[in-house]
């Protein structure tokens, strides 16, 4: 971490829906203190929240590392979950592997990854079956 960057790390615990969104809440609070525009904060909020929920549902939790710079935010979501077999397919809006009980809770509509891509300026995903998934997102501030 360089001197012009603020790093925050959040452990997202698995199967705990109640705690999902708490990392997003803290990051939003920090960005408001920095004076980032509300439109950009909303993009960050949606991308982070979707990422947190994904780690809760599919990966038994993970770690969110957030680097805040003057002009951008870089978010890395890393988990040691079961991985994604076909990343391209997973990026299709509406495609979901969430089990019925999760869908019954109102999650797993298949919009998580597509939304994360839609609201960020840079989006990278790497996944290996049996090893885990890492999502890297960058949002530039206007």
């Amino acid at each position: 971490m360089s001197a012009d960057c603020l790093r925050q790390e959040y452990v997202v615990s698995g199967n705990n829906f109640a705690s999902a969104g708490s990392a997003s809440e803290e990051v939003k609070s920090t960005l408001k203190k920095l004076g980032v525009s509300s439109a950009d904060i909303r993009r960050v909020a949606i991308a982070m929240y979707e990422g947190e929920i994904n780690m809760v549902i599919h990966a038994g939790g993970g770690v969110a590392t957030v680097d805040i710079y003057l002009d951008r935010i870089e978010i890395v979501l890393a988990d040691k979950g079961k991985g994604i077999e076909n990343v391209e397919l997973a990026m299709t809006p509406g495609w979901s592997t969430a089990p019925e009980d999760i869908r019954a809770l109102g999650f797993g509509a298949g919009m998580g990854l597509p939304n994360m891509k839609k609201y960020t300026d840079k989006f990278e995903i790497e996944s290996e079956v049996g090893v885990g998934t890492t999502v890297k997102m960058t949002i530039y501030f206007h």
Partner: protein, 429 residues
């Protein structure tokens, strides 16, 4: 007088004092400070002080103070003599304050006995707002879910912390402003000189006092004085007991009366997917979820800072749940069909905001982002030396707030955490 303090760097010198402190009673405990939803309170020199530019008037500190040291601001009863022609605006929550009340006309007649010349029910005005809201919902011009603006503490919070949600606010007048506007207009039509007319709201909470004094969504305040329910109650109860004749003054239906309790407004929209959250902490959760892109299937959201809605306001005399139960009972005495805008020959435009409330940047560390960034990094560095016990002993609500105060110069540079000695190596981390 409460001592005014400054925290953060964006200050509003004109900020009204929503709550004041009785320093004799304040023990300097951390209860109010810890629970303030915007971290506006600090304990300095053993007394609680408020940074008013951050205060949303929710009244949590008044409610929580066991020593009754926090006092909500409002106009004193004596101001009743400030005008020749006095119009009282009783809110729906007021009817929940009286034991064994069978007829809301008893309250309205009582108000005439204690010195008012006329009454205008805020509940009646609420029904015009309901009518306007239904039209707005049909038009579909604002982004959904639409967020109610009836609770001024919630509107203030959105203007401070949830700027992106401001476009979802229902841009109608608060029922009390609509009532004041109509009542004033009618008095003028009767030939009463404008300068003689005094419109008095009987407020259940400090947030409404603040909003009415500052004018929320209006060009200039429609209400002249804001009294507290408890002050009026003291005079009203004996007057109600002595009534010999009860004139039928009530115009409100059960729809308007239900605005006094949580869910009343949401149900009145006749939308099927609505949320009604009450209590400031739950309101915050809903706002956070909205900001994260959630709740998109919901059409209307009612948020009340007080538990149970306006009956939970800190300037009431009765317990919120008791008052709620009484309102529920009283709705059975009223007709179901609400008043409509057409009944009084008004259209929707009459009931809309005249101006949008101003967004406030009270949480921004600096208007220069580079300096704000430097401050953020410094705050993190200080946080690394703190025990993160959030004990409040330093006079700030959390270790993070303490670090922010040091960086903002609110506390002198190098101020030490008073509990640091209890932790090895300078920190428990």
């Amino acid at each position: 007088m409460a001592k005014k303090i400054k925290i953060g760097c964006v200050l509003d010198e004109k900020a009204l004092h929503t709550v004041t402190l009785d320093p004799e009673k304040c023990k300097g405990c951390v209860t109010c400070m810890k629970r303030c939803p915007t971290e506006a309170i600090r304990v300095r020199n053993g007394k609680a002080s408020v940074a008013y530019e951050r205060c949303i008037g929710c009244g949590e500190c008044v409610r929580l103070c066991r020593h009754h040291a926090k006092l909500p601001s409002h106009d004193p009863w004596d101001t009743i003599n400030d005008f020749k022609y006095k119009i009282a605006l009783p809110p729906p929550s007021l009817y929940g304050q009286f034991n064994n009340l069978e007829d809301i006309n008893v309250v309205l007649n009582g108000l005439l006995q204690i010195g008012f010349d006329e009454v205008f029910e805020v509940g009646e005005a609420a029904e015009y707002i309901t009518d306007a809201t239904r039209e707005i919902m049909k038009e579909g011009l604002i982004k959904r879910p639409i967020i109610s603006t009836a609770c001024p503490a919630v509107v203030e919070l959105i203007m401070m912390k949830y700027h992106d949600l401001a476009e979802q606010l229902l841009f109608t007048l608060a029922p009390v402003d609509a009532a004041a506007k109509l009542a004033r207009e009618r008095a003028v039509a009767k030939g009463i000189p404008e300068k003689d007319i005094g419109v008095y709201f009987i407020s259940p909470c400090p947030a409404k006092v603040f909003a009415l004094k500052m004018g929320l969504g209006v060009n200039k305040p429609y209400v002249d004085r804001v009294l507290s329910v408890s002050d009026v109650y003291m005079r009203l109860v004996p007057a109600m007991d002595k009534l010999t004749e009860i004139k039928p003054l009530a115009k409100m239906s059960s729809t308007g009366l239900n605005w006094g309790i949580s869910r009343g407004e949401a149900n009145s929209t006749e939308e099927l997917k609505t949320i009604a959250a009450d209590g400031i902490e739950q309101c915050v959760k809903i706002l956070e979820a909205l900001e994260d892109g959630g709740l998109q299937d919901i059409r209307f959201i009612e948020l009340n800072a007080c538990i149970s809605g306006c009956v939970g306001g800190v300037m009431n005399v009765e317990n919120a749940f008791v008052a709620r139960s009484r309102l529920h009972y009283l709705t059975s005495k009223l007709r179901g069909e609400p008043n409509t805008m057409a009944d009084i020959g008004k259209d929707k435009e009459y009931f809309l905001w005249e101006q949008n409330p101003t967004k406030k940047d009270v949480f921004k560390l600096d208007s220069n982002r580079l300096l704000a960034m430097n401050k953020l990094i410094e705050i993190e560095n200080i946080m690394g030396t703190l025990p993160l016990a959030d004990c409040g002993l330093c006079g700030a609500p959390s270790c993070r707030a303490f670090a922010e105060d040091v960086v903002n110069g609110v506390l002198p540079k190098g101020t030490k955490c008073p509990r640091l000695g209890e932790y090895e190596n300078g920190g428990a981390k």
